[in-house]
Amino acid sequence: MMGGFIDLYTEADTFLHRMDPRVKIVAVLFLSLLAFILTNLTLLLALLVLIFVLLFLARATITRTVFALKFVLRFMVLIVVLWPIFDPTGTPVLASLGPLKITEPAIWRGVTSAVRVGCLATVWYILMFTTSQRDLVRALVKIGVRFDFGLTLAISLRFLPTFGALIDSIKDAQRARGLELSKGGLLKRSRNYVAVLVPTIVSALRTADTLSLALQSRAYGARADRTYLRDLNMRSSDYATLAVLVALLVLPILAKFVMNVAI
């Protein structure tokens, strides 16, 4: 189960899949910035809708979108619930209990922040659903990230499902020795996990050791100027997207900070 979901990329042929990954990274960064700049709930909701339209256009299946939302939704609910409790400013006061004051503007601020967090969390799925790990790393290196760092990232992503399987196997091995992971109180349960954690770390270190030897034996780092099998090329549609994105970010910035329009 873990293996299937850690690599979020799904193969398809949509305009988002074809887009240069560098442009997608910029797009995601810009949309995130936009979520920070906007304070108007309607505009933030519009941004959230835009993100889901893009996810839909990326052919993200319902299960994947639900999966993407599941984690975020919990946070959003938590924010909506907790915000008014810790923010007693503004009027009208809707309810009060001792020092606790629930005000209407605080509720709206809570909802706005929740939607903002929703935008920030889901916008990354546009990139992750449509970009293979290889392209992602390639894009980062092309932007200027050192190749070693790119490779490290690629290897980490590549090994996530492997470690998922490893942890499953170690859990099984310890259950076969009578370990009941979910038994006991919080302290006992966290102690139970030592039996899983130690073999996992040891195996991970052993794997890392072997891997570094394997890389070296394939002449990793022999030349500073390495060549690449697959190169990235910006197409005219990528430049057009970039232009739209810049406009999308610059206009609200102008409106907010130069023209002092509340957005």
């Binding site: 196997s169 091995a173 259950r175 076969a176 009941e180 039996a195 073999p199 195996s203």
Partner: protein, 285 residues
Amino acid sequence: MIPSAHGIPQEEKIISTRNLKFTYEGGVQALHGLNLDIRHGDYVAIVGGNGSGKTTLAKTLNGLLKPTSGTVVVNGRPTSEQKVAALAKVVGYAFQNPDHQLFCSSVEDEVRFGPQNLGYSEQEVRQKVERAIEAMNLDKLRSVAPLSLRLGERRRVSIASVIAMDPQVLILDEPTTGLDSGESLELMDRLKRLNGEGKTIILITHDMKVVAEHARRVIVMANGRMILDSDCRGVFSDLAILGESSLEPPPVTKLAHRLAKHGISPDVVSAEELVVQLMKSGGGG
């Protein structure tokens, strides 16, 4: 000499599966309706190519995997009604990679972990640990950190940590992989002794030499099915079956097959037997 599986009286069986099917979450069906009985004191080898379903079968026998359909009955009760921790008292499972089990700072602590989980009293734990340490010849290593040991020793520690729970059945997944011949011989010798003391042993392996020298019963798996359940001789003389499951008979059996036209019986499974055969045919002509 092994009676057919279904002829075994109920009380002699420790494990029995009926129409056991197992399908992984992703939809891969790994077991296609297995009927298998294992008796107290058996020494069974489960052999087959990679992906034939050996390990999946073994994991259903101690409840780590519950059947998708059909039943696995251990000691008279279906595994679907028993917790893995409870089944661990009856069916011990030593994983292929010992490093998946080892985490304590001394061999002795490692061996203690299982019986302590099962809630034995301190005195019982001590007894069981001593027996397990003795059985796997770990006395000199008892205060050493398991992870600093050689693979052969780590494997013995992981097996000892399972034996310490005193299970009636011991499942070993590829116990000789990665061991040199000396380590392998010693380990197999120790398992033989445990079997002599009444432990039921189930060996999952590729090593046909080990199978030929130790197992009394061999189950050949291919594509999630049992294609043969017989004694060693039966398995190794059936080259067609072996080919189907991408297995090779041990070298001595292969040699006997090639010498068949010189009057050597092809069902030889050990060097000693071949010597006897050669003496006979040499003496005769």
